[in-house]
């Protein structure tokens, strides 16, 4: 159970969110040029050296992580044919619901996440309305909420499993 892919799924999502943050930083200040004449229609994005490097590295890392993630997912599905995870499923795969004890733990974690979202989203919306925040900061705010929800969920579930093994 400790090596159950569903337990570690939030960690994967947190890593992807962090990477998305780096990518957002890299793409934040590109020089864009849009040409639309009778002879030419083009859209150019010019990146500075550091931003370009960050974008290149984060995209590369993103695909590398995606490959490992899919391999782990495939391994999980092979080892747990009754609890397969579809990468395209709408229902969050981190839910542990194989019996009532697991459902109870999941419900407790989801309640905490819900409480967090209930506070965090209106707070972010208020900040965006009241303050002239740059686009990157708004993106980071959204990513922070997404990161926070996975962190809360992971820590809550882990807490129960940690107590259980002691």
């Amino acid at each position: 159970m400790k090596n159950d892919f569903r337990l570690n799924y939030p960690l994967w999502m947190m890593a992807f969110i962090l990477l998305l943050g780096v990518l957002a930083f890299g793409l934040n200040s590109p020089i864009t040029e849009f040409v639309n004449t009778e002879n030419e229609t083009s859209f150019t994005i010019k990146l500075e050296a550091l931003e370009g490097f960050l974008v290149f590295c984060s995209i590369l890392l993103y695909f590398a992580m995606l490959v490992i993630f899919m391999a782990r997912l495939k391994k999980h599905n092979k080892e747990n044919p009754s609890q397969k995870i579809s990468p395209l499923a709408i229902r969050p795969p981190e839910y542990l619901e194989q019996d009532e004890g697991m459902t109870y733990i999941t419900r407790k974690a989801v309640q905490k996440v819900y409480s967090f979202i209930t506070l965090a989203l209106p707070l972010l919306a208020t900040l965006v309305i009241l303050l002239p925040l740059p686009k990157l900061l708004i993106i980071y705010g959204i990513l922070a909420i997404a990161f926070g929800q996975y962190l809360i969920y992971y820590l809550e579930v882990r807490k129960h499993f940690k107590e259980e093994t002691e």
Partner: protein, 71 residues
């Protein structure tokens, strides 16, 4: 709070948490949560546990005296 003797009776029968879990069709973790009193099982699961441990439900589970008397 719901108290129980699951751990005591399980040990008496020489079952591991996994053994008992298999008998009542739940995971080992769920048995551990019940033993710690962290989670109160449904009536169905309580009946299955009592059956697996060859006892009555009210011998296996009971409400803590103080709380019970307050109500």
């Amino acid at each position: 709070m719901l108290k129980n003797r699951v751990k005591e009776l399980r040990a008496r029968y020489g079952f591991t948490q996994s053994d008992l879990g298999k008998r009542v069709d739940v995971t080992r973790q769920t048995i551990a949560f019940i033993e710690k009193g962290e989670f109160s099982p449904s009536i169905t699961l309580a009946l299955k546990l009592a059956d697996a441990l060859e006892t009555k439900v009210d011998d296996l589970f009971w409400l803590e005296e103080e709380e019970y008397n307050e109500k």
